[in-house]
C-alpha cells in the first residue's frame, strides 16, 4: 500500500505532468525512492493510483533503465562502459570494484550495501572514467579515488564528497 507521503508526492507529480498517465515514470521513481525498488505490489499500487493497467505500467517500468524491478543494494553504482570510458580505463575500474566489493555488474554485495549496474554514457567523457553512486557523479576514478569514494559512502556521506 502506498504511504501518505508517497500519495502526496504522486499527486504533485500528476499536477506537474499535466495528466495521470504522463506522470507514470515520475511516479515509479517516487515509489522507488521510498522503497529502493519497484515490487510487483508497488507496480499494482501505481497502476491503481494512475488508473492504468498493471501491464501498461510494467511496459514503462521495464523500458527505463533507472526503474529497478528487482531489489538493489542500499547504494547503486552506475559504471559507465561507453566508448570514452572504455578507452580510458573502464575495465580497470570495474576490476577494482570487483576486487573491493566482490561483485560484478548486476550483482549486490552480501551485506546489501552496494549494487553495480552497467550504465550508458554519463556525459563526462572528457573526465573519464566516470561512475555514479546514487545521484552523485565521480570522474577520473582511479584506484585511490575509488577507495575514498566507497569509504565516504559507507560512512554515511559525512563531509564533502571526495573527488567529484
Amino acid at each position: 500500500m502506498l504511504s501518505a507521503s508517497e500519495r502526496e508526492r504522486i499527486e504533485r507529480a500528476i499536477a506537474v505532468a499535466g495528466d495521470r498517465r504522463s506522470a507514470v515514470s515520475e511516479v515509479l521513481m517516487v515509489v522507488q525512492e521510498a522503497r529502493g525498488w519497484v515490487s510487483d505490489q508497488s507496480l499494482a499500487d501505481v497502476a491503481e493510483a494512475l488508473a492504468m493497467s498493471a501491464d501498461e505500467v510494467e511496459g514503462v517500468a521495464t523500458f527505463f533503465e533507472l526503474v529497478f524491478r528487482r531489489s538493489v543494494g542500499k547504494h547503486v553504482i552506475l559504471v559507465c562502459d561507453s566508448v570514452s570510458c572504455w578507452i580510458t580505463g573502464y575495465e580497470a575500474l570495474l576490476g577494482q570494484l570487483r576486487s573491493r566489493l566482490g561483485i560484478g555488474p548486476g550483482e549486490t554485495t552480501a551485506d546489501g550495501m552496494f549494487t553495480i549496474l552497467p550504465a550508458g554514457c554519463l556525459g563526462a567523457c572528457d573526465k573519464a572514467p566516470a561512475m555514479m553512486v546514487d545521484e552523485e557523479l565521480f570522474v577520473g576514478v582511479g584506484s585511490e579515488e575509488l577507495d575514498r569514494i566507497l569509504k565516504w559512502v559507507r560512512d554515511g556521506r559525512h563531509g564533502d564528497a571526495p573527488h567529484r
Binding site: E26, F64, E65, L66, S82, V83, S84, G123, C125, A128
Partner: protein, 420 residues
C-alpha cells in the same frame, strides 16, 4: 574570439544566477523578441542559418516554419536535454553553468511558434543540471520572465522540468514525446511530423539544448552578427569536444567550421607516446575518419563530404595502442542494449553485430564474421529500419571495417586480440 554560449560560465562550477545573467545581456534576446513579435523572430532565426546541434543539423527556422502557427490550438516547445550519445558532454556544460540561457532560448522559441507550455526533458543522471535548472526556473518565474503576461506583454509561458528515468531512445524526438506522454519511448512514424502533430497530438517543436541557447544570441545580436561567428555559410559557434587518450580532454566553444586539427590542438594533442589512428567526429553514431583527416573543417557540409557526420561535434579519438575492434564492440554493445526493440532489424541485428564482434575480439572469430558484419551494416542502413537509431549505430562499424580492415583480419589470423 567571441564565445557567446560559454562566456558566462564560471570556472568554479557554480551556475550563473539571474542577477549575473541579466548583467551580462541575459534576457535581452527575449525583450527583443517580444518587441519583434512571433513572425519577426522566426524570420530572424531563419536568416541566421542556425542548424540543429543535436546531431541532425536541420535548419532550425525551417523546422519551426512547419508549425501551423495560427491554428489556435495548444502548441508545445520541448528542450531535448537527454544527452546520452556516447562521447558527448556538451549540453551538460551549458545547463550546469548557465541554466538561464536555456530558459531564455525556450521562451523565445515558444514566442516564435505561439506555444504557452514548455518542457525540459532532462536525463535524471544529470542531477547537477536539474538543481541548476530548478533554481533558475524559480528565479525566472519570480522576475516575470515566465508565467502570465511575460514582461507586461500578452505572451504567457510555463516551463516544466521532466526528469527522464533513462533510455538513449528518448533522445529521438518522437520517442521523447511518447515518454512525456507516459508511454514507452518507441519512435512514431513520420509523417506526421511533431511540428504538426506532436505532444498529445498538438504542434510541438523539439530542439536540442545547444540549439536553443543559440536563439537568444541571434535575437540579442542580430542574424548578421550571428552568421559572422561562423567560418561557414551556416551561423554561430559550436561546442566542440575531444575525449579519449589525449593530453587535455575537454569542451571548447569555437567558430563553426574550425578544423579537427585546431580542436585537437586545444586538447593538447595525443597523450604521451601515442599517435592518432582515427576519430569519430560527433558522437558514437558517426562514421570513423582516419587520422589523416584532421584538416577536415568541423561543419555539417564539410564533415559530410569527408564521409561522416558532424553529429554532436564531440570527437572521440582512437590511438595506436587501443584495439579498433574493441572500440567498435564498446560502441555496438551500447546500441544493442539501448535498442528499443520496436522494429525487427534493429532488435535482432544489433545483438548479432555484437556477437560477431565478441567472437572476433575473443579470438574465436572467422573471416566470415567480418563479411557478416558488412552484410549487417547494409541491412541496417537508412530506409530498412523504423527510425534512425540502427543506421546511426552501424556508421562507426561500416567505416571501421574499411579503415581498420587489417585489424579485424589480424584477430582471426592470430586467434586472439593482438592488443592484449
Amino acid at each position: 574570439m567571441a564565445t557567446p554560449l560559454t562566456a558566462r560560465i564560471r570556472s568554479d562550477g557554480v551556475a550563473v544566477d539571474l542577477a549575473s545573467y541579466e548583467a551580462s545581456g541575459g534576457y535581452q534576446g527575449l525583450r527583443a523578441a517580444l518587441a519583434m513579435g512571433s513572425a519577426g523572430v522566426r524570420e530572424a532565426v531563419t536568416q541566421a542559418k542556425l542548424r540543429g546541434r543535436g546531431g541532425a543539423g536541420f535548419n532550425t527556422g525551417l523546422k519551426w516554419s512547419f508549425v501551423p502557427i495560427e491554428d489556435g490550438a495548444q502548441h508545445y516547445v520541448v528542450a531535448n536535454a537527454d544527452e546520452k550519445e556516447p562521447g558527448t558532454m556538451k549540453d551538460r556544460l551549458l545547463m550546469e553553468g548557465d541554466p538561464h540561457s536555456l530558459i531564455e532560448g525556450l521562451a523565445i522559441t515558444a514566442l516564435a511558434i505561439k506555444a504557452s507550455v514548455g518542457f525540459i526533458f532532462l536525463r535524471r543522471e544529470y542531477s547537477k543540471c536539474a538543481l541548476a535548472l530548478e533554481r533558475a526556473l524559480g528565479e525566472a518565474r519570480a522576475k516575470g520572465y515566465l508565467g502570465e503576461a511575460i514582461l507586461g506583454s500578452d505572451f504567457s509561458l510555463e516551463i516544466h522540468l521532466h526528469l527522464s528515468a533513462g533510455r538513449y531512445m528518448c533522445g529521438e524526438e518522437t520517442g521523447l514525446l511518447n515518454a512525456l506522454e507516459g508511454k514507452r519511448a518507441t519512435p512514431r512514424s513520420k509523417p506526421p511530423f511533431p511540428q504538426v502533430s506532436g505532444l498529445w497530438g498538438k504542434p510541438t517543436i523539439v530542439n536540442n539544448v545547444e540549439t536553443l541557447v543559440n536563439v537568444p544570441v541571434i535575437l540579442r545580436d542580430g542574424s548578421e552578427a550571428f552568421k559572422a561567428l561562423s567560418l561557414t555559410g551556416d551561423g554561430g559557434t559550436k561546442l566542440y569536444g575531444v575525449s579519449g587518450r589525449v593530453r587535455n580532454p575537454g569542451v571548447w566553444e569555437l567558430p563553426l567550421g574550425t578544423s579537427a586539427r585546431e580542436i585537437m590542438e586545444r586538447a593538447g594533442g595525443m597523450a604521451e607516446g601515442l599517435s592518432l589512428r582515427g576519430f569519430i567526429p560527433g558522437g558514437a553514431s558517426t562514421d570513423f575518419l582516419g587520422g589523416d583527416k584532421l584538416d577536415v573543417k568541423m561543419d555539417f557540409d564539410s564533415v559530410a563530404q569527408a564521409g561522416s557526420r558532424l553529429g554532436t561535434g564531440t570527437m572521440v579519438v582512437l590511438d595506436d595502442r587501443t584495439c579498433p575492434v574493441g572500440m567498435v564492440l564498446s560502441l555496438e554493445r551500447f546500441f544493442a542494449r539501448e535498442s528499443c526493440g520496436w522494429c525487427t532489424p534493429c532488435r535482432e541485428g544489433l545483438p548479432w553485430v555484437v556477437r560477431c564482434l565478441e567472437a572476433l575480439e575473443s579470438g574465436s572469430g572467422e573471416m566470415g564474421d567480418i563479411e557478416t558484419l558488412e552484410e549487417l551494416s547494409r541491412r541496417l542502413s537508412p530506409g530498412s529500419t523504423f527510425c534512425a537509431f540502427a543506421p546511426g549505430a552501424v556508421e562507426p562499424l561500416q567505416s571501421a571495417l574499411k579503415l581498420f580492415r587489417s585489424d579485424f583480419e589480424d584477430h582471426v589470423r592470430k586467434g586472439a586480440c593482438p592488443w592484449k
